[in-house]
């Protein structure tokens, strides 16, 4: 590795160059402000496209060849089918068949169903991944087996990177549950309806070539559309585009665990006592059983008091839909659809609004929905005594998760992380997190089953909770309690080779993921 390293504003060692591209170290929240003009897509002329609007080609392979697929291309896919995606793997099967090498894969998120792609990382078909490396792909990356260095970005960071020209997508392949021959596409209907295609929006606007793949072609116009056909080069019809049942992954079911329900209950009580739950408030509950359960407690409180929430952001699911349909909520601002009730509601309910990383998360937008949310509930793998949090690696140093919208969401007015104090024997509240994904200054409250810690920066919350019966403690106390129960864990050993970098929402590098040292 020829790159140099510098310490960023959080004191983390980060490379100055990644995959040959110069990088900016993290400077602090809202400190990095690039100037000039945004990256612009290539000029095209409508005269190059069929006047009758029929852009269908026979196969995905034809479409990729027509799109000029060649060595070193940047290929993007999207995760609206979550663990039911059927398209990403086909792309690389075709690339392999064509003998193409060194592709850069830019998924909006990866899932375990894509674990087989490690074989293409091994044989050089894929050079590296920019987006997220989950599960097996993460483990593969941590072992230093990926040819290039991975780049982890938030959903908002992906939009920013595209607008900054940091990621120039050669070919975007958008899996669409319904489309017309012109390329207008939507996710809210069709046999494989999965909800929102918002993660593909930036790609459709900026990629050099855009391919829509569908198993449900309808006569023009496919209306309402989520992706505009005017951005689309080719349309491919296949037998099956995705498995809609699998968009409900494990983390989108409400929890039955008594420990997690306790966290949910305390979090809701905290919000109530801190005066956050009031008529017209807004909230976001992330994926994950605990976060989802908190929504149910919010609903109970609102119902009891005859109040309602004005809007809820984030992944829509049956619980939010129930609130909407019961009149406890005016709007769902949907960023991704977590279950089939969400998909149905998107079709049927006027108050169910399609949003995108552009409206909610983009650093180069003139404001963001995410920062306007009154309270957001998220998870973390680790938190440290400075409230810095980790969502990508585990305490053993292995990369296992993507950032998702997590970094973008912590911009909210109040960010609460309900997390267990320890998992099995692993303390979750620690001296120092393995990887910083979010700076402590943006994380307001940690709720554990053994106590709740409020960030000392939030004097207002501390004051409001002064007389609470909830077990309010300091983060230091929580850390000590965890260590008293588990013991002090040894730290993982790393080599000096970075295997991935974690980007902050503004494109700077907030931390480095290092290769695991197995010696």
């Amino acid at each position: 590795m020829s790159a140099n390293f510098v310490k960023n504003a959080l004191g983390r060692l980060v490379p100055t160059e990644v995959n040959g591209v110069p990088q900016v170290p993290y400077m602090g929240v809202g400190k990095h402000k690039p100037t000039g003009r945004k990256y612009a897509p290539q000029i095209v002329s409508c005269s190059d496209f069929p006047d009758d609007g029929n852009k269908t080609v026979a196969t995905l392979k034809d479409a990729l060849i027509k799109s000029g697929l060649r060595d070193g291309n940047v290929i993007s896919t999207h995760h609206h089918f979550r663990n039911g995606d059927l398209v990403a793997i086909q792309i690389f099967d075709i690339a392999k068949e064509l003998g193409i090498k060194d592709l850069v894969w830019v998924p909006s998120a990866s899932f375990e169903c894509q674990a087989v792609l490690t074989k293409y990382l091994e044989d050089g078909t894929i050079h590296h991944i920019e987006g997220s490396m989950n599960g097996s792909l993460g483990r593969f990356t941590s072992q230093g087996k990926m040819k290039g260095t991975g780049i982890l970005r938030s959903h908002g960071g992906r939009y920013q990177a595209i607008q900054d020209g940091e990621v120039v997508i050669d070919i975007a392949v958008i899996a669409a549950p319904t489309a017309d021959a012109f390329g207008n596409a939507t996710g809210d209907r069709g046999p494989a309806a999965c909800g929102l295609l918002g993660f593909a929006l930036a790609d459709s606007q900026y990629a050099n070539k855009v391919i829509v793949v569908t198993d449900n072609i309808v006569p023009f116009p496919c209306y309402p559309w989520q992706i505009q056909g005017n951005y689309v080069d080719h349309v491919v019809v296949v037998d099956k585009v995705g498995i809609p049942e699998k968009i409900v992954s494990g983390t989108t079911e409400v929890t039955k665990s008594p420990d997690r329900l306790l966290l949910a209950e305390w979090t809701a009580q905290f919000c109530d006592e801190a005066g956050i739950i009031k008529d017209g408030f807004s909230f976001q509950a992330g994926a994950g059983g605990t976060a989802l359960s908190i929504g149910i407690y919010f609903a109970e409180i609102l119902r009891e008091r005859g109040m309602k929430s004005r809007w809820a952001r984030g992944g829509s699911n049956k619980y939010l839909v129930k609130m909407l349909e019961e009149g406890l909520l005016d709007y769902i601002l949907d960023g991704q659809t977590f279950d089939l009730d969400g998909v149905r509601s998107m079709r049927e309910n006027e108050g169910h609004v399609n949003t995108s990383p552009f409206t909610s998360y983009n650093y180069h937008g003139k404001g963001n929905f995410a920062s306007m949310v009154d309270v957001v509930i998220l998870g973390a793998t680790e938190v440290d005594v400075n409230f810095n949090a980790n969502v990508v690696t585990h305490s053993d140093g292995v990369l296992l998760h993507g950032i998702g919208g997590w970094q973008n969401c912590i911009a909210s007015k109040c960010t609460i992380l309900p997390i267990p104090l320890f998992r099995d024997r692993m303390p979750v509240v620690r001296d120092e997190v393995t990887t910083i994904c979010g700076p402590g200054e943006l994380i307001d409250v940690i709720v554990t089953e053994r106590g709740i810690a409020i960030n000392p920066l939030r004097k207002d919350l501390i004051e409001k909770m002064k007389n609470s019966k909830l077990p309010i403690k300091t983060i230091e106390q929580l850390k000590q309690e965890a260590e008293a129960i588990c013991g002090i864990p040894d730290k993982p050993k790393f080599t000096n080779k970075p295997v991935a970098v974690v980007k902050w929402v503004d494109g700077t590098i907030i931390d480095t993921v290092w290769e695991i040292d197995n010696t």
Partner: protein
């Protein structure tokens, strides 16, 4: 003796536990094979305790295999000791330092609305039990432990009594039926157990046997703390003998009824309405009240049915029970809420107690509320309601002043 033994749980879904197998060898020293999901962070710690325990029991040559799923130290120690004691004969016990916050006593008449049953051989269910704030936590050595796991469970329960934080809950153990259960006492009496549940109790004699053994152990270790007993009657004979059992000894503070076994003994089965057990439940309540101890109801088995649980609690309370068992932490809140006096009950009690105070101040012999005369038992019940409301935090100590202000 055999040269190979094992203990602990492993396999799909097992967490926070470890499976240990040891083979005593003739030479070659100690060989430890460790597989652990936290090996990187705690591998050294696990090897250290393993070596320490092997040395403590003077084992010099052995092949040890540990399959760890993130067990805490006291669990690992229990699994090692249970394995070793199948292989060698020794009176030594390997004990980690007693957790100071577990060093408390409980009162004879303390609140026993809820007691949470935990299987005595399942560490993962124990870890967070206390944070759900049941009145009591029961480490169960009886029906929740498979017969071939009873031996290892007694070490785990002993270590849990010492090293698992109970967060103030009354520390309870359900032993096996007497006489087998008498052997369990060696594992729990020296480790500050607050209350022992004596299952399938059918005579005062069984209580006496338990107390005799407790006394012996107390003498041996020079222990002075109180150990309360809660016999459970679970048979037709037990129910008939309930008064004898309730009055068997002064440390019997409560008596519970176990309806699964009782209905089986009757040759019937449990129904939601519970008509088949009405006699037994009433009999137990009556015996307990006559003996001046707490009558405690059976568990409600459908952990997802909170509405059913609530109705069950309200019925139970109406029959005169003071509390019941629970088998899932989510049941605790519902049990507490519904055994505790309801707001309307408290308001009425407040008025009666204040009326009584006023009548006493005026030197009147007769208490009246509005145009109604209040009988002395009603005053007594109101005072009990107020006491319970105070105990459960439903009202403040200075409620009378607040009442006058409002």
């Amino acid at each position: 003796m055999t040269t190979v033994a094992s203990s602990g749980n492993k396999g799909k879904g097992v967490r926070s536990d470890c499976f240990v197998s040891i083979e005593i060898t003739q030479n070659g020293g100690i060989e430890i094979i460790l597989e652990s999901k936290v090996k990187l962070m705690f591998g050294k710690s696990i090897l250290q305790i393993t070596n320490e325990i092997l040395a403590f029991f003077e084992i010099k040559n052995a092949k040890v295999t540990i399959e760890d799923t993130g067990a805490l130290l006291f669990v690992i120690a229990a699994r090692l000791e249970a394995t070793i004691k199948q292989l060698i004969k020794t009176d030594k016990e390997f004990l980690l330092p007693f957790l100071s916050q577990n060093n408390y006593q409980t009162a004879k008449d303390q609140n026993r609305f809820s007691r949470l049953y935990l299987p005595g051989n399942s560490p993962s269910l124990m870890l967070n039990a206390g944070v759900h704030k049941p009145n009591g936590i029961i480490l169960d050595l009886e029906d929740a432990v498979a017969p071939d796991k009873k031996f290892e469970a007694s070490f785990l329960v002993r270590n849990a009594l010492r090293n698992l934080d109970f967060y103030g809950a009354e520390r309870m153990v359900r032993i096996n039926q007497v006489p087998k259960g008498l052997d369990d006492l060696d594992f729990i009496v020296p480790h500050n157990v607050n209350l022992i549940l004596v299952p399938k109790c059918e005579s005062a004699d069984q209580i006496h046997q338990v107390n005799n053994k407790i006394e012996k152990i107390n003498k041996k270790y020079n222990l002075t703390g109180n150990i309360w007993l809660m016999p459970i009657v679970e048979s037709a004979l037990g129910v008939i003998k309930s008064f004898e059992i309730a009055t068997a000894a002064p440390n019997v503070v409560a008596m519970a009824i176990g309806l699964e076994d009782y209905t089986a003994d009757l040759g019937t089965r449990r129904t939601a309405e519970g008509i088949e057990s009405l006699f037994a439940r009433s009999q137990v309540v009556n015996a307990c009240r006559a003996a001046g101890i707490q009558p405690i109801d059976s568990v409600f088995s459908d952990v997802m049915d909170m509405e059913g649980l609530k109705n069950n609690v309200l019925n139970s309370k109406a029959l005169g029970f003071d509390g019941m068992g629970c088998i899932h932490p989510r049941q605790i809140v519902v049990i507490h809420e519904n055994y505790a006096p309801a707001p309307a009950e408290i308001e009425k009690a407040k008025k009666i107690v204040i009326a009584f105070d006023e009548a006493t101040a005026k030197g009147l012999g007769v208490v009246s509320l509005g145009t109604k005369m209040i009988d002395p038992p009603v005053v007594k019940r109101a005072q009990n309601t107020i006491d319970l409301a105070l105990k459960t935090g439903k009202i403040n100590q200075n409620w009378k002043e607040e009442q006058h202000v409002s």
